[in-house]
């Protein structure tokens, strides 16, 4: 079912104005994203460049282990799983993350399940992840500002906005971080270790145990989404309304979500469905092992397009939430408003309405 058909289905069920707003916000979000391609290019560059040093490090490990071995030939032209296992047996640090999960769609499964199963990441990865999150937190001000204004703000404007909102976002990040930390440090083990073990200890069918785990995933994922939603709209309110207080913005975000719950959720569902469609497409086309030379680069380009698509969805998520907010609570005093479109002057009107020559 396409998103559009789903939207139409909801429409026919009589879910009208709020669904319409969500759908138009979703479309508006895309419009804003497409209008600012440099922004996507920038976040892609951030992702790529942060990954690059680690990639170079890992490449050095792989090359050092292969040395002048003939094993490299089969590893280059296809796969040499014997070598791979040998490499893993001696690997430390980053090398330990070089598992078959790096191939094709397994990447997505590994990473999502890594988050939901609260898998601890090794120090080099944790550092890179922390830098990436800090980078995003810093740039978020500029990104939101750009999408809210709907007009070019240029590099200096972008970084001015990033800087202006950066401190507020750091305060927000501390609060959100504490909540996430509590969720992963306490709620997750309580749920997935203690309660899961208690509930499934007597189960002798795997599907029943999986059902319990799936319910826990939905519950825990739901909590994460709820926190995420509040954080998202808090950022929107901080930027669009130039709020100084992170705590005040959180309260305002909660208020907005509560009073526009159906629109907010409908938009979240639309965005999530878009993400699932992308993941499904990726599951179908994700390159496998491949060879070297052209096929390697072709596979890499396809994979980078997938990464770009993921980033597009991420910024579209932001842009559509801004669109939704602005569609509901727009007034002149907003800081990050679109460029004013002045009404025509009376003189212009007179000129425009004068009889035209034949």
């Amino acid at each position: 079912m396409t998103l559009w058909a789903l939207g139409s289905g909801l429409w026919e069920l009589g879910i009208e104005s709020w669904e319409l707003t969500a759908r138009s916000s979703w479309r508006d979000g895309w419009r804003r994203v497409i209008a600012a391609p440099a922004l996507v290019a920038s976040v892609f560059a951030l992702t790529f460049l942060l990954a690059l040093p680690l990639v170079i490090t890992l490449r050095g490990m792989l090359a050092a282990h292969l040395g002048g071995s003939l094993a490299a030939e089969t590893a280059a032209s296809g796969i040499n799983y014997d070598w791979w296992q040998e490499f893993t047996a001696q690997a430390t640090g980053l090398g330990t993350t070089f598992t078959p999960s790096v191939i094709g769609f397994a990447t997505v499964l590994d990473n999502i399940s890594g988050v939901l199963d609260a898998r601890v990441r090794i120090a080099p990865l944790a550092t890179a992840l922390a830098l990436y999150l800090v980078g995003w937190a810093f740039l978020s001000g500029g990104i939101l500002d750009r999408y809210a204004r709907q007009r070019p703000i240029h590099v200096h404007g972008f970084f001015a906005a990033s800087g202006a909102y950066g401190v507020r976002f750091v305060r927000l990040a501390v609060i959100a971080g504490l909540i996430y930390w509590w969720l992963f440090a306490y709620v997750h083990p309580w749920l997935f270790d203690t309660q899961f073990d208690n509930l499934t200890r007597g189960m002798n069918t795997e599907r029943a145990a999986f059902l319990v785990r799936a319910i826990f995933y939905v519950f825990f994922g739901g909590v994460l989404l709820a926190v995420n939603l509040v954080v998202d709209y808090t950022k929107v309110r901080i930027v669009v309304e130039d709020r100084r207080s992170a705590i005040g913005a959180i309260a305002a975000a909660v208020r907005f979500i509560r009073t526009h719950l159906r629109q907010v959720l409908a938009l979240y569902v639309l965005n999530s469905l878009t993400f699932l469609v992308l993941i499904a497409v990726w599951a179908l086309i994700a390159p496998g092992v491949g060879g070297d030379g052209l096929s390697m680069w072709a596979g890499f380009v396809v994979a980078q397009l997938y990464i770009v698509a993921r980033l597009l969805l991420k910024v579209q998520f932001i842009a559509s939430q801004i669109a939704l907010f602005q569609a509901n609570l727009a007034h002149a005093s907003y800081v990050s408003a679109p460029a004013p479109a002045w009404p025509d002057s009376p003189a212009a009107e007179a000129i425009d309405s004068s009889p035209r020559s034949a």
Binding site: L66, G68, I103, A106, Y132, F210
Partner: protein, 663 residues
């Protein structure tokens, strides 16, 4: 008459009461039958084994209390040349009686300990033990029972019980003992126990050790070991609630519904050395028949759980493939039937073997390219050869059944199940992903990957119960499979098959020791192969050969000097070939005995050398680092590392984006 009638009636009544009470309190004294206990029991002319430890068992499952109450009559014959004046019994379930058992102590030491919950514990208490004398009288030995700890002196361990007989039992003399016991069934431990209404009951009855010429061989229950017992005839009555589907070692001969809502299942089998059973109301009872031109037919019974319904064909195909290949390679499976149990989730009963009854292993979500249920099922069915028939001492030489069988299973898998792919599991291990580009090879099923980590853990000749518990499996399973496969590559499969087939035929229904196998190797190949077994069996050295240097330099206008230095990095030695390839495609092959630390080969030719390889055919599968076995002057490591680091980059970017959810 009138006066006598009440008197006679009273006497008769009293007599009847006395008889009834006596009958209840003491078993009737039976007259010794022809060929009574002290004479050798009549071993059937078609007996395949000595049948010197036979059991008649009558057991009842109390589902509510999770207990088994049982009574057994053991007919035991001393088949050694020495007399004995005691019996020794295994009481395996006492391994989970408390944390002081040797089994749980070893688990703690190995770092694998998680404290069992309150309802997990089990017990096995012998309530009565009587020796039936030649006269037919029984002598109560219950008070003479005592626990012993022959392996580690752990006085808290109650897994071995000694009972002085008060007299000597001479060679070829038989005795009969009656044992009553009660046992609390554990939550699953070491492949036995209950979960929900699924029961897998193994090592569940007081069981004799093995008397050898050196004395009783009755080891305590260890974390890393399995079992050892003599062959006999088993006749077992199991009474369980009627709703249960029951499977057991042997063939079911009767089934009797009782008035109390229970059913008594009778299973019998000859020439087996253990008996296990399972019960669940959920089993789907499926059957197929294995038929073969030259091998005896086998009725296959598959007790399948509904959540694995879709995997029935995979089970049957694997069982048939294993029966066929093991039968053709090693010798016929003679029992005519086999029961394969699809074990319940979390039952810890998966992947285990008992005579004529094995457990497989299946996952609810199992794409057709995954290894399960095939690999485990093939392995366990294969144990009918290497364990059930060739009954080695698993306490001391686990490699002789587990290792031999891992080697043979890998062969079956390579021949019959070659569509299997490497898989990873995600989301708590529930969701599999099969990598279509990575086939599971025979070497993977030899378990080379895990061996690398623990190649030096123990020398194989060390008695298994003394292996480091956490790595015992690596030495028993992986190392053996790898050296057997290596040996096969050296002597060729036809010779290897003759070795294994001869060994099987010679030692089935007996208890061979390592020397018996080595004797067969010598008999078939004409050599002792000391050099090989010294390395793989008597030492814990690792194998690692490599190309240390490879140079090809111009000497003059017409000549290049190509130098190859091959090196033995590990302590273990093995003869290896060294192949050097030149630009014109020419190859030189040298055979290096592998004894010295290094060897130098120099060639002067009109063309440059391109590659050098030590052990190019990968004969030595125990080599823990094969990547260093080759060297080329035009390495592809740049291309390979670029390709794989780019793959990894996508994974890393995706990881960053996944965590990007939080900002």
């Amino acid at each position: 008459m009138h006066t006598l009638r009440p008197f006679a009636a009273a006497i008769l009544l009293c007599g009847a009461i006395v008889v009834a009470v006596t009958a209840r309190q003491q078993p009737p004294v039976e007259q010794p039958s022809a060929g009574g206990p002290t004479s050798p029991p009549p071993v059937a002319t078609d007996a395949r084994s000595p049948r010197n430890a036979s059991y008649e068992i009558d057991a009842r499952l109390d589902e509510a209390a999770k207990t088994i109450r049982g009574k057994e009559t053991i007919r035991w014959r001393n088949i050694t040349d020495l007399p004995t004046n005691e019996l020794q019994f295994h009481l395996y379930w006492n391994a989970w009686r408390d944390t002081e058992s040797t089994w749980l102590r070893e688990r703690r030491i190995a770092g694998l300990f998680t404290p069992p919950q309150a309802d997990a514990w089990s017990t096995m208490d012998v309530t009565s033990l009587r020796l039936r004398e030649a006269s037919g009288q029984t002598r109560d030995l219950t008070t003479d029972m005592r626990f012993i700890a022959p392996d580690d002196g752990n006085t808290k361990d109650r897994t071995v019980m000694s009972v002085p007989l008060g007299r000597s039992v001479g060679p070829n003399e038989s005795i009969e003992v009656e044992v009553e016991w009660t046992a609390k069934i554990p939550r699953p431990f070491a492949r036995t126990g209950w979960i929900g209404d699924y029961y897998f009951i193994a090592q569940w009855f007081p069981k004799l050790g093995v008397l050898e010429s050196e004395g009783w061989n009755t080891h305590q229950f260890h974390l890393a070991t399995e079992f050892f017992s003599d062959f006999g005839v088993y006749d077992v009555h199991l009474t369980v609630p009627r709703r249960f589907v029951v499977g057991a070692s042997g063939r079911q001969t009767t089934r009797t519904d009782n008035a109390d809502g229970t059913t008594t299942h009778r299973y019998q089998e000859d020439d087996i050395h253990d008996f296990a059973w399972t019960a669940s109301p959920d089993f789907l009872d499926l059957t197929q028949r294995f038929e073969h031109l030259t091998l005896p037919a086998v009725d296959i019974r598959l007790l399948l759980l509904p959540e694995h319904r879709g995997q029935a064909d995979r089970y049957f195909t694997t069982i048939a493939a294993t029966l066929k290949r093991y039968g053709e390679w090693f010798g016929a499976y003679p029992y005519g039937h086999i029961t394969v149990v699809d074990p319940a989730f979390q039952s810890d009963s998966d992947g285990m073997e008992y005579p004529t009854l094995v457990t497989g292993r299946a996952r609810w979500f199992a794409p057709h390219t995954t290894q399960l249920p095939e690999s485990t099922t093939a392995h366990e069915v294969g144990h009918q050869w290497w364990y059930a028939m060739v009954a080695t001492n698993e306490f001391e030489h686990a490699w002789m059944d587990e290792g031999f069988n891992t080697y043979a299973t890998a062969r079956v898998m390579a021949e019959a199940m070659n569509s299997n792919r490497v898989e990873s599991r995600y989301f708590g291990g529930f969701i599999p992903w099969s990598f279509r580009d990575i086939p599971v090879t025979r070497i993977d099923n030899d378990r080379l990957a895990a061996f690398r980590f623990n190649a030096e853990a123990d020398a194989q000749w060390t008695p298994t119960f003394q292996y480091w518990p956490a790595t015992a499996g690596i030495i028993s399973y992986n190392k053996t499979a790898l050296w057997m496969h290596t040996f096969e590559q050296r002597v060729g499969w036809p010779v290897m098959q003759r070795i294994m087939g001869t060994y099987f035929e010679r030692w089935k229904f007996k208890h061979p020791r390592p020397s018996d196998f080595f004797d067969i190797v010598r008999e078939v190949t004409g050599h002792w192969h000391y050099w090989f077994f010294d390395e793989v069996y008597r030492s814990s050295n690792t194998f690692d050969y490599g190309v240390q240097e490879f140079l090809s330099e111009r000497v003059d206008e017409k000549t290049f000097r190509t130098s190859v230095v091959v090196r033995r990095y590990g302590e273990a030695t093995f003869p290896v070939d060294v192949v050097t390839t030149f630009e014109n495609g020419e190859q030189t092959r040298e055979t290096w005995n592998g004894q010295e630390r290094r060897a130098l080969y120099v060639y002067e030719k009109p063309v440059r050398g391109t590659t050098a390889q030590v052990d190019p055919d990968h004969v030595l599968l125990l080599d823990v680092a094969y990547t260093n076995n080759s060297r080329t002057l035009k390495p592809s490591s740049g291309k390979a590392s670029l390709k794989w680091s780019l793959k990894w980059m996508v994974w890393l970017e995706d990881l960053m984006l996944t965590y990007g959810f939080f900002v």
